[in-house]
Point group: D5
């Protein structure tokens, strides 16, 4: 695996596919370009998912995030694109991408998109006291 920015997401087999478990990943170092002005945008990306057969490999996720550094992208489009890429690579039971952008024009914008595998149902939540 090179250490170049890359759109290819590596995966590895889920070590416990018989159980629905959850992965939360926070990526505070994300930058892309504004497609209108060409100026840098900054964001924190959150990835939350329930893996099925494959998990995202950590270093490859980092290189994937890096791959947006010189890419122009609207807030709404880039969040959906990330979700599409990650779903294509891992075919998860559930996945959510949250992109928390830095202030522009005095306004803070966060975009959230999620994917559910057809037929998959979360187990009813146990809420402890």
């Amino acid at each position: 695996m090179s250490t170049q920015p890359s759109k290819e997401l590596e995966t590895f087999p889920n070590p416990r596919p018989e159980r629905d478990f959850v992965l939360h990943m926070r990526v505070p170092e994300f930058t892309c370009l504004c497609p209108k002005t060409g100026q840098p945008d900054f964001a924190t990306i959150y990835l939350d998912y329930v893996p099925d057969e494959r998990c995202v490999e950590l270093k490859s996720l980092k290189l994937y995030m890096w791959s947006f550094r010189d890419q122009g992208a609207f807030h709404e489009a880039i969040t959906n694109e990330m979700l599409d890429d990650l779903v294509r690579a891992t075919a998860p039971r559930y996945m959510k991408v949250t992109a928390e952008f830095y202030v522009r024009g005095g306004i803070y914008t966060t975009v959230v998109a999620e994917h559910r595998k057809p037929g998959w149902q979360p187990e009813p939540k146990v809420e402890l006291a």
Copy 2:
């Protein structure tokens, strides 16, 4: 698009209308006038919505917020007016406006109003562990 305060809200086509995704916007720089005393009021405005065919354009939202600067408006009325304007411009699946006003007479007031497109149902929420 001018850089004058404006009640006209620009929109652009939703890049992913086949998916219910969420936009959270926070506007910490908002001021209007008290209709009783004419004195300035200050607030932070929150906009949360699920777009249908159109998204709110960021710069135009900023000019829209600016348009209240010289307008007298009661807390309860202005929050509902904003929601009406934004719903008219974007016809969203779901939208919520929250206006968190600065203290007056020793009392902090927040007003929250929401709109739901008839027939639209949110997908059952997945609550991860």
Copy 3:
């Protein structure tokens, strides 16, 4: 309207009665007397409600809060009394009073009481991702 403490709560017509919207009010400056010892008690009062035909006028709410300054009142009783007074004045769809008292005998006490208009149902909550 005088600027004397007053048990009379002024109201004004709800500017948008066709929509269920929410008002949150926080009153950090509240003091009354302990009915057992006569010593001052301090609290922060929270008022959350969905108006029906009438909204509470802000200045009158402040004078109402002031009216407890020389009144002896147990924690449990005063919270219910406030709710009764505010419900009588505004006949809201929903109302909740929370009284967060300052420490006494090393113990922090908060009392919460709510009222629901018979037959009124909250719209099913939309929980965004």
Copy 4:
């Protein structure tokens, strides 16, 4: 009422028994002894309840908390014992005791136990926007 530690919990009549209202009490000054080593343990105790006919008197609750000062008690057992004592004294509609213990062996332990009066149902929760 003496100012000695005491297992006896005083109560007073609920001033508004026709309404389900809530009491939250936080007791940050609690200490008992570890039954294995005899060394002091420290905790913060939280009491949350919906009274039925009787409320817990504040000063008596303080003396009750004091009564554990020289008592050896395991984390799991003491939390359940407190709940049993408080339920016996007040026969509440609902009650929860939370004991947040200070670190031991590098591990922080919190124990939560609750009681529900048979047949009592909480009103469906109103979640405001």
Copy 5:
């Protein structure tokens, strides 16, 4: 019980098995090795459970956590392994293990896995105002 790292988890009888109560445990001092690079990883471990017949003994839990100090383990695998070990030792009604790992490659990862005893149902949650 020795003070050596140990995979053996001691338990003791649940003092109140007729009641569903909850234990929350936080272990901020956890370290293992990255199986790819051999370098140290650090995490905070959270254990939340409803005991059935047995509770985890605190000191033994500490020695168990210590036992990972020289063990290579992937984030996803180690969290599931811990849950398996703890379930085997205590056969709880419900158990959840959360492992919050320290940043690697600029990414923070948290893994959450839970176990439910077949047939066990949590009591419907009482949400107080």
Copy 6:
């Protein structure tokens, strides 16, 4: 000592007058009246001092703070008056009164006044790494 508001400050002999030591006291429950409008003002009072022969008695300080409840007083004047009263009662080596008032007209005001015993010098401060 009565439990009535009182301008009389009780004192007791400094237990260690041969050493310059420091007392910090924070009084978050303070209220007086605005002399212009008669409306309540709220503040947190801080007292910091190096005692000489006498220390302020805690309960008497509480009753002294209570004595301002029905007194009209400007922010600047009341802070200096408190300092004068406390200096008269204890003749300290050093004393500072800080009054942090609640917002009025959108402005937060804090007033700080201090007294130094003639000829007294603080020991040069040891600032640890």
Copy 7:
């Protein structure tokens, strides 16, 4: 005194001119216009001073802050202008104006300017342990 924005600052006699005491004032509701773009700027203003013969009147300070609402002003210039106006009105022993501006172009700017009365010396600071 009118309730119109006004550049005139009212003062009143210092109630304790024989003592150097300190006033801290925080004004979180301040807005002016950017002289280059005409767009609104927002800031929090802090005023710290040691009065000599005159103190700033609170309501007049609020109207003075309001007077900048329609005024174009660079960050550096407006802070110095405020200090000049306040010094002219009160001739203090010491005064400092801090203007903490809201983010522009991704950069947060704070400007601080101070004035010292010629010949005035602060008392050597007493730093308590």
Copy 8:
């Protein structure tokens, strides 16, 4: 060394007496009795010192803190007593005891006392940018 509360403070030789270095110790679990009412008091104790020939042994410090559990002691006196005991045991170059007591009568009290070895001078502080 026993595990009984004990007024005897164990020490060990300073491993680096040729260098002035600093020890900060925080003891959040401290309780004693109020000498007037016999009721429990709680505090957090801070110990900061520059050792000379001897350092305080950690476990012995814990047992020393425990020794106050059944002792009546005024805030001002107990802080000075601790400092005296710790100075006697370790004869440090510099030592400071801070006792932050829990609220009583609505007032939070902190007492700070320090000792300096005659002739000892702290090195002039290096304040980094």
Copy 9:
């Protein structure tokens, strides 16, 4: 002025050169490249200065920060280079650059460098109570 990244720093005349005043600027959106690995580095930059004849223009500072986006630079070198560039452009009385880098290898690094104009002395600091 273009909206391209640029090493040229625009300045404007100090509006109040006869007074030593202070500018604090915080730039949370900064990224450059690691010269060893070519991978992105992220930092928050702080600029604090006392202007002499010239002030840094805000938009030009933003473009200057952008100019490092594709530049390889060691933490220690880049901080000193920024200070050199900013001093050359503005010749300030005093300037400090602080670069707070994001974690690498589990270690957080901050670099601070400052410049003082020969012969310039800060006024003795007034520390208010």
Copy 10:
């Protein structure tokens, strides 16, 4: 450079030796063993220094921190040993090591040791308003 734990500290030439600048480094992932019990200890290490001819290389510092993983060491001794090693490797103008240990026996301990190059003087600190 290997990726094994190592006591050898790599350095590189200071890129700007003609200027006194400051490096702050925070290492939250540190663990060693208690020399008395053999059990793990955890700490956060802070390194602050003014380099002279050499700077500490980041990766080598990480491997150095790793080298304590299997080493028994008292709090006071290990902090001084680190300072000695780092001073030997870099011969800095000024260096400070702070070791903030995790709670043991209910007590939090922090040790701070510093080194000054003979004859070196810090520039008088500029404290901005």
